[in-house]
């Protein structure tokens, strides 16, 4: 009775086709702010990823640097060498445009990794707290509450300080980026955990979860196969907004001198270096990295805002 029929069943419509026809893209095409933000984010991310191809100079190769090029204002030829740079140069003659591209690489890498860490940790703990309840929930959520009473940046600095204390000095610069990721990631998991726990509490009482229990599914399988796919929407929104916050947190830490080392400057490090020259007239060393950070964080945030509305069924 099951001979030829299965073959006649049409395959599901192609994923691309389904995605194009979805409500999601429909609302994207009708939101100019989201489209502009998306464009800005895409251009910035691509520029950062392909920095070695895009950047006119390699700012971290001492061989190509000329100290005589220091403090060249944007767009004007240098008084000694005659070279000109779009966005000027810093005190050591590094092209500001190139340092921004390379700095953005570090900022984005730290931001993405930190959010990924926070997301994995938060979603896991949130699922456990929400689904298992009882003591597991009490412990996880009280830890979250306590952590929430400290400003995230303070928690990050604490973790950063401890990590710096236990790493041997010769590895410090190498490890700085990873410590930064760990610090920001650990300071940011609470939001994910709280939202996922709340959504899990709603989902776990739905009958499809009981049906899965009735089949004999293990709690782990129920959490990952049934509840997780149904709580991912809010997670996606928080992840986007967290990305902007993580990039700013990284910049803040680097600005305070506890983040990315000057040998591998991120946007925050560039801003810190730049602010030393702000009052001596070399405004461009500070201004352009700061503007890039603003554009990046603002676009990601606006994109997150739109995503929140687009994924909210009540606003459709």
């Amino acid at each position: 009775m099951t001979d030829a029929r299965p073959a006649s069943v049409p395959p599901p419509p192609g994923r691309l086709r389904r995605a194009w026809q979805s409500d999601f893209l429909w609302s994207f095409r009708r939101a100019p702010v989201a489209m502009v933000s998306f464009l800005v984010v895409t251009v910035l991310v691509l520029a950062a990823v392909f920095a070695p191809l895009v950047a006119p100079h390699d700012p971290f190769n001492p061989a190509t640097l000329n100290l005589m090029n220091g403090f060249t204002p944007p767009g004007q030829p240098n008084a000694f060498t005659g070279e000109s740079f779009w966005l000027g140069t810093d005190d050591q003659g590094r092209d500001v445009f190139s340092t921004i591209l390379y700095g953005m690489r570090i900022s984005l890498f730290v931001g993405f990794s930190a959010v990924l860490l926070a997301m994995v940790l938060g979603v896991l703990l949130g699922l456990l707290a929400g689904y298992l309840g009882g003591w597991t929930e009490t412990v996880i959520m009280r830890v979250a509450d306590v952590q929430l009473t400290f400003p995230a940046i303070l928690v990050a600095m604490l973790i950063f300080g401890i990590a710096k204390g236990i790493t041997p000095p010769e590895y410090r610069d190498q490890m700085a980026i990873w410590v930064l990721i760990l610090a920001i990631g650990l300071s940011d998991w609470v939001q994910f955990a709280r939202v996922v726990r709340g959504a899990t509490l709603v989902e776990k009482n739905k009958e499809y979860v009981q049906a899965a229990r009735l089949v004999g599914r293990s709690p782990f399988a129920i959490m990952t196969r049934h509840i997780l796919p149904n709580v991912l929407n809010p997670v996606l929104v928080i992840a986007t907004i967290s990305l902007a916050l993580a990039i700013i947190a990284e910049a803040t830490l680097s600005f305070l001198g506890v983040g990315a080392p000057p040998t591998k400057p991120s946007l925050g490090t560039l801003i810190r270096i730049g602010q030393e020259f702000m009052f001596s007239g070399e405004w461009w060393i500070l201004f352009f990295p700061a503007l890039t950070l603003l554009a990046l964080a603002l676009s990601i945030n606006l994109l997150g805002d739109w995503l929140r509305d687009a994924l909210n069924p009540r606003l459709r």
Binding site: M1, T2, R5, P6, S8, V9, P10, P11, P12, K206, E207, Y208, Q210, A211, A212, R213, L214, V215, G216, R217, H226, P229, N230
Partner: protein, 356 residues
């Protein structure tokens, strides 16, 4: 004693089932009381029959059905399905029993995972309990879809693309996937349109005939239960007050609550309706966290006696297959006088909730 079924082979035996939910208060979640959702319930379901479980909203009938399948951890009591004790079984032995006992849920919208395809939903029990190859599994899924009257072409669709009746068919196919012997139908038709209700009930009956299934059919729809059930149990505030074969229960209800409940069934014939007398009981259902002393129904019973407020009536067999928990029935000599007296005094209004 089942009507119409020849064998008397008990498949499900529930004895003294209690399901209490703790009420906690304060920071340390200290227990301050219990909601007695199911309080000392006993019944037997024979192989191949349908036991209807009726009662108003919040009387514990759904909780009872779920506790029987160990979706909740029962507080006390014994549940034996096909001779295996379910109430105290560990995770692994319970898992081994899962294929034999399944459930059809009330809300076909909530009982299907919105992120899984129909094939994924129906195939999940097969993933968990069988080692079929992909092809065999697909063949079984198609077979199940045929059985419940779903078009095979819909296998890759998602639940939101279906109507309520079709979704309920998906839920039934999932319940059937592992060839269960016993299915708890938890208000399977309550969320459906009336026209669809009949289709789903007919499907359930047809599957019962074909596959020899045993049902616990939970519902608040008394006419539907009369249609599908062989025997009927009436629940009030966590207890079964009357359990009898269908015809005798609908024909001559013994418990005052059953009488009142049955008098609330809508009558399609206006001529009959005009002459019919409804028994209207006053007040509200007491809180299951604080049930009255004595008989649970004593606060609202039109035929209440002094003894009802003191002693909880025993659930006993008054005739073969007829069980009632009421002092009136056991003290037959007093019945006539008491009933007349309380009916003469008349009762204030109101309703027996029938829907949810």
């Amino acid at each position: 004693m089942p009507d119409g079924t020849g064998t008397l082979n008990p498949l499900v035996e529930v004895r003294g089932l209690k399901m209490y939910f703790p009420i906690t208060a304060g920071v340390f979640r200290k227990k301050v009381g219990d909601v007695k959702a199911v309080d000392d319930v006993s019944f037997t379901i024979y192989e191949g029959e349908t036991l209807g479980l009726v009662g108003e909203s919040g009387c514990g009938k759904s909780t009872c059905g779920r506790a029987v399948l160990r979706l909740y951890e029962p507080t006390a009591g014994s549940i034996r399905i096909a001779g295996t004790e379910i109430a105290t079984a560990g995770f692994d032995s319970l898992r081994a029993m899962r294929p034999a006992m399944q459930m059809v849920f009330q809300d076909p919208q909530a009982s299907l995972n919105p992120r899984m395809t129909v094939a994924g939903i129906i195939g999940e029990p097969l993933d968990e309990h069988t080692t079929l190859t992909r092809k065999e599994k697909l063949a079984r899924i198609y077979e199940l879809m045929d059985q419940v009257g779903l078009n095979r072409d819909f296998a890759n669709r998602y639940p939101h693309e279906f109507s309520g009746g079709q979704r309920q068919r998906i839920g039934i196919a999932r319940a059937l996937a592992l060839n269960p012997r016993f299915i708890v139908c938890d208000e399977p038709i309550a969320a459906l349109d009336v026209s669809i209700q009949a289709q789903v009930v007919n499907l359930l009956e047809e599957l019962q005939d074909r596959l020899g299934l045993t049902y616990l059919f939970i519902s608040h729809d008394l006419s539907m239960v009369r249609h599908i059930a062989d025997r009927v149990a009436v629940m009030y505030l966590g207890k079964i007050v009357e359990l009898a074969p269908r015809e005798s229960l609908y024909g001559s209800p013994q418990h005052p609550y059953t009488q009142a409940l049955l008098s609330a069934v809508p009558e399609p014939d206006p001529m009959v309706e005009a002459t019919r007398r409804r028994i209207i009981i006053g007040g509200d259902v007491p809180s299951p966290a604080n049930p009255p002393k004595g008989c649970n129904f004593c606060t609202r019973c039109p035929k209440v006696m002094d003894i009802c407020r003191e002693i909880d009536p025993e659930f006993r067999e008054i005739a073969p297959g007829r069980h009632v928990a009421c002092h009136l029935v056991t003290q037959a000599s007093q019945t006539a006088g008491q009933a007349a007296a309380s009916e003469a005094s008349g009762t204030t209004e109101i309703r027996i909730q029938q829907g949810e």
